[in-house]
């Protein structure tokens, strides 16, 4: 036994005698993780979060969360001698006087953008493959919660430097709070310690940004990961992969090296991006004052959809009985986002309601094999993309020689027309892909070789596809539409209930599939 083995053994013995960790570790170090690039999206988000914690701590060493008015006399000459808040001055100090400070600010901001981007990409992967189905509904809801908190956290974060652009964003947030019926102006005055902007919101959002929300993030991310660990990862269908097993590589050493290495890769890419591309140049924006504004004032991209919705809202307010209700703010600022996020959080339950499928699912769907879901996803995505485009309509207008009015009207009409269109197109696309799969299984693949028949006709030689491929294309099950949903428990048709009708309609839409070859479903899904 070598010296290092002996020391290692002693340490392990010391720890295990006090914690009993060996049993747990023995089992879990060989835990199997399936390998697929799309499973790394969530990891990108996780690693961005760790990078955010590290870089964020660095920034707090110098950041002064105060709106105390000071005269700037620092290194950055174009602002020298102007009055501004201490928060802004300290951000200038980090950017221009602390070695690596600007780099760290840019790492923090790029990591925040990547965090949100990876969360959304991860969410899309989970949605389009049906990974949120039983038993993973809780994790889906936690994920939606993390996305929502991420939007808030990001917004508060970029508001901290108290620059002209972020101050404008805070002004708009204040207007949304103020627009709430009955409690709006009270809430706004409590949040800002008086009339906007006051001198308290930077210290307040600082505490929320560095303590409250990161604490909630840590708790939610821990639960999210523990559930992934405990429920084991989903896997894509394929030969040898069933609902009852998980095929992949063990944590020790493969996954440790890959996942650990990927953390360094994500950090490295963010650091390179931060070295090469400027982000949030607050010294150009100038300090915040409510009397100033810049052309093209936009939020970060993950708020862009909200800004786009607000821009396209029709100019409607109700004035009655001495009160005002601003529909032009409430609808795009609170009601539509509320519906979007509630609908998103509840989607697993909605789907299982209209499919009647209450079983566990460990194998992921290929998006084409769930045409209704894929089309619903494409529809929602189209909605969001239109709002984001409208959120940047002024930048698009100047860079593509369009007018903001054209883009606005395109969005106002398109927001109603294009999502349903996306649904129809996506569904047809999925069905034709299913048809192509069916052809492939039934007739084999085209070889490109031509052969002349005895009658003198040319035909292309087809070769049967491999067993593995054939299984891959046919392993999915195809649910039939629920028949009973318009009937009550006595078998009496009751087509009048709205819910029943909707359920039957959605169920029928979900069951529209191209009959797969090879007879009945071969998928083994028994209720355990």
């Amino acid at each position: 036994m070598s010296a290092s083995e002996r020391v290692g053994g002693q340490v392990a013995n010391y720890v295990d005698e006090r914690t009993g960790a060996a049993k747990w570790l023995k089992k879990n170090l060989t835990k199997v993780f399936p390998d697929h690039w799309s499973f790394m999206l969530g990891e990108i988000a996780l690693y961005s979060f760790i990078i955010l914690l590290l870089s964020g701590v660095f920034l707090t060493f110098w950041f002064d969360p105060s709106q105390r008015e000071v005269l700037y006399e620092g290194t950055y000459q174009p602002l020298s001698g102007l009055k501004m808040s201490a928060a802004y001055v300290s951000t200038l100090h980090i950017s221009f006087d602390i070695r690596g400070g600007l780099l760290m600010r840019q790492i923090h901001h790029w990591a925040a953008l990547l965090f949100m981007t990876a969360i959304v990409a991860h969410l899309l992967r989970v949605f389009f493959t049906g990974a949120y189905r039983k038993p993973r509904e809780f994790n889906w809801i936690i994920g939606v919660g993390l996305l929502t908190l991420g939007i808030v956290e990001g917004f508060l974060g970029y508001s901290l430097p108290d620059d002209l652009l972020s101050g404008t964003g805070i002004r708009i947030a204040e207007a949304i709070i103020q627009a709430m019926p009955v409690i709006g102006s009270y809430l706004a005055f409590f949040a800002f310690g008086g009339a906007f902007p006051g001198d308290t919101f930077i210290p307040r959002i600082f505490t929320v940004h560095v303590l409250l929300l990161p604490g909630i993030f840590l708790a939610l991310i821990t639960v999210h990961l523990m559930l992934v660990w405990y429920q084991k990862h989903t896997q894509y269908p394929g030969p040898g992969r069933t609902e009852k097993n998980v095929v992949g590589y063990p944590l020790m050493p493969i996954y440790m090296a890959k996942a650990g290495g990927f953390f360094f890769i994500v950090f490295g890419v963010i650091a390179l991006l931060s070295a090469l591309a400027s982000i949030n140049p607050i010294w150009l924006y100038g300090p915040y004052t409510p009397g100033q504004i810049s052309a093209g004032s936009q939020p970060d991209w993950y708020m862009g959809w909200l800004d786009g919705l607000v821009r396209m809202a029709p100019p409607i307010e109700t004035h009655a009985f001495g009160h005002t209700i601003s529909w032009n703010i409430l609808v795009p600022g609170l009601i539509v986002p509320g519906i979007l996020f509630t609908g998103m959080a509840l989607y697993p339950f909605i789907e299982s309601w209209f499919t009647g499928d209450k079983r566990e699912h460990q194998l992921l769907d290929r998006p084409r094999n769930a045409p209704n879901r894929t089309a619903l996803g494409a529809m929602s995505l189209t909605f969001i993309i239109i709002t984001i485009l409208n959120g940047g309509n002024d930048i698009i207008a100047t860079h593509f020689s369009l007018t903001i009015n054209q883009i606005m009207w395109f969005s106002r009409i398109g927001i109603f027309l294009l999502p349903p269109l996306a649904y129809v197109i996506t569904k047809r696309l999925c069905l034709s892909l299913q048809r192509a799969d069916r052809d492939l299984v039934e007739h084999g693949r085209e070889t490109g070789r031509l052969m002349m028949t005895a009658e003198g006709e040319f035909i292309e030689v087809h070769e049967p596809i491999s067993k593995e491929k054939a299984w891959m294309l046919t392993q999915h099950e195809q649910l039939t539409a629920l028949e009973h949903v318009t009937e009550d428990e006595h078998g009496i048709r009751n087509p009048k209930t709205m819910g029943g009708k909707l359920r039957a309609r959605l169920s029928r839409a979900d069951a529209e599939q191209i009959q797969k070859p090879g007879g009945d479903s071969h998928k083994e899904i028994d209720s355990y």
Partner: protein, 330 residues
Amino acid sequence: MSHELEPITDPGLPDHVHRAADTDPVAEKRAERQVAILFALSAIGTILFIASYIYIPTTEFIFLPVLGSTNAHELFLGLGLGLSLLFIGLGAVHWAKTLMPDNEIIAERHVMRSEDVDRKGFVDTVKEGAAASGLGRRSLIKRSLGLSLGLSALTPLLFLRDLGPLPKKQLETTNWKTGTRLVTDPGDRAIKASDLEVGAVAQVLPQLLTGEERTLSNIGKDAVLLIRLRPEEFELSPERLSWTYEGIIAFSKICSHMGCAVALYEQQTKHLLCPCHQSTFDVPRAAKVIFGPSARPLPQLAITVDSEGYLIAQKPFSEPVGPSFWERSS
């Protein structure tokens, strides 16, 4: 061509295919060397980082294509850090891919649902516990506990009361009073009507009385935009026309939609545009909304001149400025 299909069954996990590095010692050596090179590149990145930190002054700029003139200190610090981290990661992954065993392992899943006996045991435990506490029987305790918990939930609300003052009339009022002079922002100079040519604009604030400080909260509701048109270009009601002075019209600069500074004046079309959400206001028609999400015109400030010829407010704003709120009556 179509033939009867056999029922398709799961062929099972494909056979393991060996990698080059598994069978060929040369390939294995090569892979090992590649991993080592990647780790060595990372070390070079770290050295670049340290060298940049020590030797490149923070004021040094370097001209690069695409980037333009950029700060050399931050650039090389970031490149060093990025390469140092990236190559550690690439090395680790390459190592795992080429040299660590790549046999796929099959692990069985366990069912999430607990065994029936455990579920029953759990229910029994809960029932026993509830019975032992007597919560079901002792309704007096149950109700009084409910009351005390419910009431104690109010305490956070009270604790948060001092976050801010009540709005009172603050949203309805500004610092514009009868006779307040209009002064330039920035600069604080009073202006005369003759100072503005036709087509000219001026960003103004109310003149401060001696000893007063201008806070951002004041600017947030006091900011006003002056625009001079030809008097015949106005399409105003007689009352609103009397609020103008020799073609000079004054509007609150705080958008009636969400409070951004609406100061984007297009001289030819005489439109005011808010850069935040693109509400467009028609100046000759008392800032009537002609496009975008805002539902109300910008509040107009009645102006005139004092005995010395300086522009002053005739009276305070006749309506609240800025975004709407519940208590707003019009």
